[in-house]
Symmetry: C2
Subunit: 201 residues, 2 copies
DNA sequence: TTGAGTATATTCACTGGTCGGTATATATTT
DNA sequence: AAATATATACCGACCAGTGAATATACTCAA
């Protein structure tokens, strides 16, 4: 039986993930992955039951690190919450200038697997995006009550994923900055409404 | 030589488009399309040079009608510009409740063809999204000057495409409503800034 | 310490099926 | 007869996945 962790398994996940992100899930064959890892295709099927399993394992593996990058960018930056959220978009604009940048692997997977609604990779993508949304909600809690924070978190997520899609299409990182400005404006407006309510009471 | 228009050609485009939208570009084979049209595969290749050509022709054909739907929803609705833009999101929320809804075909094509940057379908998708953005810019011109209108148009596009992506992932049409509220808020804020400047002068 | 036995890990060679695309022939229309 | 349009049958390449054999590493009794 294959173990849950082994050097070979990690090498497979790493190489396969790079290929999936660079070329797309369906554009990458198991033969191609095997060659990239320097291993026979049979070894792939020793460590993973199927290609679909490998895809899902890759996305599950990326969940925590991806969220950690957002949290890092947020924590490192100066200013109020709106500034810190905007900093995430600025960093993404920088990343998107690299030729190797190809958008969000989770969103892309959900598009490529749109005809397989029960695919485990889609569940992984959903879980990841919900974790990001929940984290945003927690840091936006200082702006307003639960409902305001939740709505703002959703709006930020919409701008974030919108920028992923639009920048991938037009290859124009400026959209990340425009999205960041919109996110900051919405957050400040949320805070503003609270101040208005405080004055009222 | 194949003509630019013929009943058979139209039937192919129609059936192929439905399949592409429902299943994804790579998940649909030319054999499958031929069977759906009720025609031999050879006939497909008489009317279209390749599968890639067929994909591009489908997206080019969808450009104008898709934009027209947005314009129709905008024109039919009551209220100011912010309300009318929000109405587009509300209508999309309604559409997304259908089981057959699968997001935006243009965005999905750009994701599926991410490893073929020069693909004609990507050019078609870019042109379509830019046309939508330009139209939004023209209707937002009444809110502020060219720069304000352009920024707002981009922010609306970001929320629109973000909602396409997020709703496709979570299958939760509510995100369209949240996105519409954000778009309306940003537009009203744009108008508000103008009023402030007018007061100042 | 060694050697038999066992679980783990990997290789080679292969399969059935699907894919995009085509060579050739044949209708149908002008 | 010439141009347009469709059908039959086929090709080589690629794809996900597998059967059988083998190498490596660990376990434990003599």
């Amino acid at each position: 039986m294959a173990r849950l962790s082994s050097p070979t398994r990690d090498r497979i996940l790493d190489a396969a993930g790079k290929l999936f992100y660079a070329e797309g899930l369906r554009a990458v064959s198991m033969d191609g992955i095997a060659e990239a890892v320097g291993v026979t295709k049979r070894t792939l099927y020793y460590h993973f039951r199927s290609k679909d399993d490998l895809i899902a394992a890759w996305l599950q593996m990326r969940d925590q690190p991806n969220l950690a990058v957002f949290q890092h960018w947020f924590a490192r930056s100066e200013g109020d919450v709106a500034d810190k959220v905007q900093a995430i978009f600025d960093q993404l604009a920088r990343a998107a200038r690299r030729r190797t940048w190809k958008g969000c692997g989770f969103l892309r997977a959900s598009v490529e697997l749109v005809n397989l609604p029960g695919h485990p990779a889609i569940a992984a993508a959903r879980a990841h995006k919900k974790r990001v949304e929940a984290w945003l909600c927690s840091v936006l809690r200082e702006v307003g009550d639960d409902m305001i924070a939740q709505t703002l978190a959703r709006q930020v997520i919409l701008l974030l994923d919108g920028a992923f899609a639009v920048v991938l299409l037009h290859r124009d990182p400026e959209y990340f900055e425009v999205a960041g400005a919109a996110a900051a404006a919405l957050i400040r407006r949320g805070r503003h409404e609270i101040l208005k309510e405080q004055r009222r009471s």
